[in-house]
């Protein structure tokens, strides 16, 4: 394992280059290019604001679109990273079969490219918040910590599914289905107080989902629930601690699994 990390560090420039390649290639041949990264959150914000202002009677959350965005963008970071990582090895036979390099670069580059993407979208989102004179929560200083936590968890999942998919192509289809189900057990579109109110006894089980804790943490630091809706203010100390441990464990196990299986990659794809 230590050897692997050393080799990866030796190839850090490759990781960097591959990450940028992902970003560059994504918008090559499009006129607006990187602008599309900003368009996505802008349109989402506009649509949510209009829809929820007109159609939904003002509920308990005064700024539902902001609440939604603060959980949805981190969730999309998770979904996009995972769906791109799962095909990152099988989608690059030309490289895997012909050149040696630490193979984990491929899924990791997919994750980091999406992280940069997520960062850009967050910039747009924060610009919007500044315009509407949002009262930021002091907990916003934990932004890097939450980002690290989520990225670690995503990297572990990405390494695991990308390697497993080489041996069993069902994994990529399974991931699509699983992510859809996962979305609804994570408090992105509904506030956590709905869960607390109706399924109090299931709360510990609900919080066993690491992404629930991650999304709750994002909402907590961005949405500033103390000012805009205390019902969305929920962070569980034990949930977060557990999630941190799970993220580290998932990362290490994912890496280990990847390392154990990568020797067969060139033969299997």
């Amino acid at each position: 394992m230590i050897e692997r990390f050393k080799d990866l560090i030796k190839h850090r420039e490759l990781l960097w280059n591959m990450t940028f390649k992902e970003l560059r290639v994504k918008y090559k041949r499009s006129v607006l290019g990187f602008v599309w990264s900003f368009m996505n959150p802008i349109v989402m914000l506009a649509v949510f604001s209009i829809v929820f202002a007109i159609l939904v009677s003002r509920g308990s959350l005064s700024w539902f679109s902001v609440y939604l965005m603060s959980g949805l963008l981190p969730w999309l970071f998770f979904v996009n990273s995972t769906t791109q990582a799962v095909v990152s090895i099988v989608g690059n036979p030309g490289l895997v079969k012909k050149v040696y390099f630490p193979r984990e670069v491929l899924p990791m580059a997919a994750v980091f490219a999406n992280m940069i993407h997520f960062f850009l979208q967050m910039l747009v989102f924060f610009a919007f918040l500044l315009i509407i004179r949002w009262h930021f929560s002091p907990y916003l200083v934990f932004f890097p910590v939450v980002l690290l936590l989520e990225t670690l968890f995503i990297l572990g999942i990405a390494l695991f599914v990308s390697a497993a998919n080489v041996y069993l192509r069902d994994v990529q289809h399974f991931v699509d289905v699983a992510l859809m189900a996962w979305f609804w057990i994570t408090p992105v579109v509904y506030p956590i107080n709905l869960v607390i109110g109706r399924f109090r006894s299931f709360l510990p089980l609900y919080l066993a989902n690491p992404m629930a804790n991650v999304v709750l943490a994002w909402q907590f630091i961005i949405y500033n629930p103390h000012k805009y809706g205390p019902e969305a203010a929920y962070v569980s100390f034990w949930g977060l601690l557990g999630t941190s441990l799970v993220a580290v464990a998932v990362f290490l196990l994912g890496y280990y699994f990847f390392h154990r299986t990568e020797r067969g990659f060139a033969e299997q794809i």
């Binding site: 420039e13 290639v25 490289l95 012909k98 060139a266």
Partner: protein, 392 residues
């Protein structure tokens, strides 16, 4: 000095599954029943490559050359045995592997070099050299998708060969590109040799290995069957290849070639000749019936089927009249110019206009040429070197 590459008892087994079962349903359905055959692409291969050495690996298709290189470069892992490498490796298993069509030539140079494990700083330093080697100065900022296949290959080769690895591994990639570029690549390889770098070189162009390798290894069915000086191994390779090539016989057999003998200077039958020696090709025949005005001919071909020399009695202005019963014709070659290699002799008897073939033996006998010189090429041309000073 430690070896640059040590290949120790390496075997590689591929499982050839009877069906390509890749989905969960099938895996469960066929669980435990999936038959596969073992295919050993490499069996107990032992090779030590010294630092600064240029090692050639030759062998027929499917002999395990590429598998071996892929094991050395850690793309594949041996089933048994182990491989130790010392120093950075750049492998040219496929030129331009990982080129992104939607990036420019410049971006691809950096990306490709980092795939090979080289830093931006190193590439910065070498960038101009890479571009000028690839002869792509005008196109380096164009998208690679617009490159011709030749440009693509030149850029791939230029990157790999200019990044300064300790060990350079080349698999059959010199066969691509036009002759001028090939020549340039070989010059560059020779330059790398002079820098004391280690090179492992796989090719079908076996004569090229004679030109640039210190040592050659021949693989056959995953085993090392011959190892040693290039000349020796290449000759062995030719012999092995020829035993597969077929010889043919045709004709109405009114005249039969009883035997074709190759005689040396002393008049003894021989299969080994030195460059510059004489040879007599004796064609013994027997005519079953009287045959008027036959033509006797012979030719010498090399392993590729190129005719080195051939003649017949008609071309020489000879009329034999009517022949009957046994007899012999001798073609006397006063000096054989061929260098090292294996050659075949064909003999034929036919009518003057070649409308009737009495007996034709294709590649009937073979002989080996040996030369005491290290010169390369097909023929020995006596050559002296004079050094002239500038005033002349």
């Amino acid at each position: 000095m430690p070896y640059a590459v040590e290949i120790k008892n390496v075997s590689k087994m591929y499982k050839l599954y009877h069906e390509n079962v890749k989905s969960l349903k099938e895996k469960i359905l066929f669980f435990g029943r999936r038959g596969f055959e073992e295919f050993w692409a490499l069996e107990d291969v032992n090779i030590d490559v010294e630092q600064g050495e240029t090692l050639g690996i030759i062998g027929a298709n499917g002999s395990g050359k590429t598998t071996l290189l892929k094991c050395v470069t850690k793309i594949l892992y041996p089933t048994r045995g182990k491989i130790i490498t010392r120093g950075s490796i750049a492998a040219l298993l496929e030129l331009g592997a990982g080129f992104q069509p939607d990036l420019t030539g410049r971006e691809n140079v950096y990306l490709n070099a980092s795939i090979l494990g080289f830093s931006k700083k190193e590439v910065d330093r070498k960038f101009d050299e890479i571009v000028s080697f690839a002869e792509l100065e005008r196109f380096i900022d164009n998208h690679v998708r617009n490159y011709s296949s030749g440009m693509y290959i030149r850029l791939g080769f230029a990157v790999a060969i200019n990044v300064d690895p300790d060990i350079l591994i080349i698999d059959e990639v010199l066969a691509v590109g036009d002759e001028a570029f090939q020549r340039k690549c070989i010059e560059r390889i020779e330059q790398i040799q002079r820098q004391g770098k280690t090179i492992i070189f796989v090719t079908h162009n076996v004569d090229l290995t004679r030109e640039i390798c210190d040592r050659v290894i021949m693989l056959d069915n995953g085993k090392v069957v011959r190892e040693g000086a290039p000349r020796d191994v290449v000759n062995f390779y030719h012999k092995a290849m020829e035993s597969v090539s077929s010889s043919g016989e045709r004709g109405n057999r009114q005249v039969v070639i009883k035997s074709v003998d190759l005689l040396n200077e002393k008049g003894e039958p021989s299969r080994e000749f030195q460059t510059g020696q004489s040879m007599r090709v004796r064609v013994s025949y027997e005519a079953e019936v009287p045959v008027a005005d036959p033509v006797f001919g012979f030719s010498i071909e090399d392993y590729r089927g190129f005719t080195a020399y051939g003649t017949n009695t008609r071309l020489k202005g000879l009329k034999l009249g009517t022949i009957e019963g046994p007899g012999a014709i001798e073609f006397r070659l006063s000096s054989l110019p061929m260098l090292e290699g294996k050659y075949f002799v064909s003999a034929a008897i036919h009518s003057r206009d070649e409308s009737v073939i009495y007996h034709w033996l294709d590649k009937h006998v073979s002989f080996d040429m040996h030369s005491g010189v290290d010169d390369i090429g097909l023929l020995y041309i006596p050559c002296e070197i004079a050094v002239l000073d500038g005033s002349n």
